[in-house]
Symmetry: C2
Subunit: 150 residues, 2 copies
């Protein structure tokens, strides 16, 4: 067990959850800044060399959890571990962003889907990918197939 | 802030950190089981449809953190946020596994790199990928280039 501590905060154009594109075909191309606390700056050494970062953050405005819920991308309920619902047993969010540039403790990134002010817990380099032909997307692919042209 | 709570534990062939393949060219193809606690079983609904899962877990046997460290894949120090070091401000690990089958609360997966008994904090479906031609891997690609044939 550990108690989470922010290593920084997200500057995002999204001030409330209603602002965040959701559901099928939602594009996450918003620019934002990962503002890292000065005490952690040394931890950013060499991060400039990576094109994409995994940002682990805290759903700090979600309360409690729900094991079954209906995501915006479907009209059927799914298990929380098969969705990106914010109402999780551990309120941990994850976003892959493109690193555009670093300015000191500021990482300028594309692809934020967090609320402004979201606490950042960790950043990891994206090191490898799953080939597209090997990826299956379960209920999401089915929901997309039911709603073509979104 | 939140206090982490396990949603389950990893059954892995790795009993100590020395057993885990590390460094350049390390393959993570070990089979393991994500044994979810019965109280969270409903959260697994529909997870069978996904080929790959993002497992978020706790480095429960790491102590403290180090902002600069030398990973096994290089002989140079890098910032913790540019590496997968276990000694992180928030001791959060992340592994993408292939879901082979589900048996009740047991998710049989391939690709574990966690120690046996590792607490699982969250599971998310892998929904999208970054095209390989857009991915840059920074110091890791450079370290690989210096050690060909690993």
């Amino acid at each position: 067990m550990f108690t989470s501590r922010p290593i920084g905060f997200v500057n995002s154009p999204y001030k409330s959850t209603g602002d965040i594109p959701k559901g099928l075909g939602a594009k996450h191309e918003a620019d934002g800044v990962l503002a890292i606390l000065p005490e952690f700056e040394a931890g950013l050494t060499d991060i400039e060399g990576f094109s994409h970062l995994i940002v682990i953050w805290e759903f700090d405005r979600a309360h409690g959890f729900e094991l079954l819920g209906t995501p915006p991308s479907d009209n059927r309920a799914h298990g929380v571990f098969a969705t990106r619902s914010p109402r999780r047993p551990n309120p941990i969010g994850l976003t892959i962003v493109e690193l555009r540039r670093r300015e000191g403790v500021e990482l300028h990134v594309r692809g934020v889907d967090m609320l402004d002010g979201t606490p950042i817990l960790d950043i990891k380099p994206l090191l490898s990918i799953i080939p597209e032909e090997k990826l299956r997307r379960g209920w999401l692919a089915e929901a997309e197939a039911r709603k073509p042209g979104d």
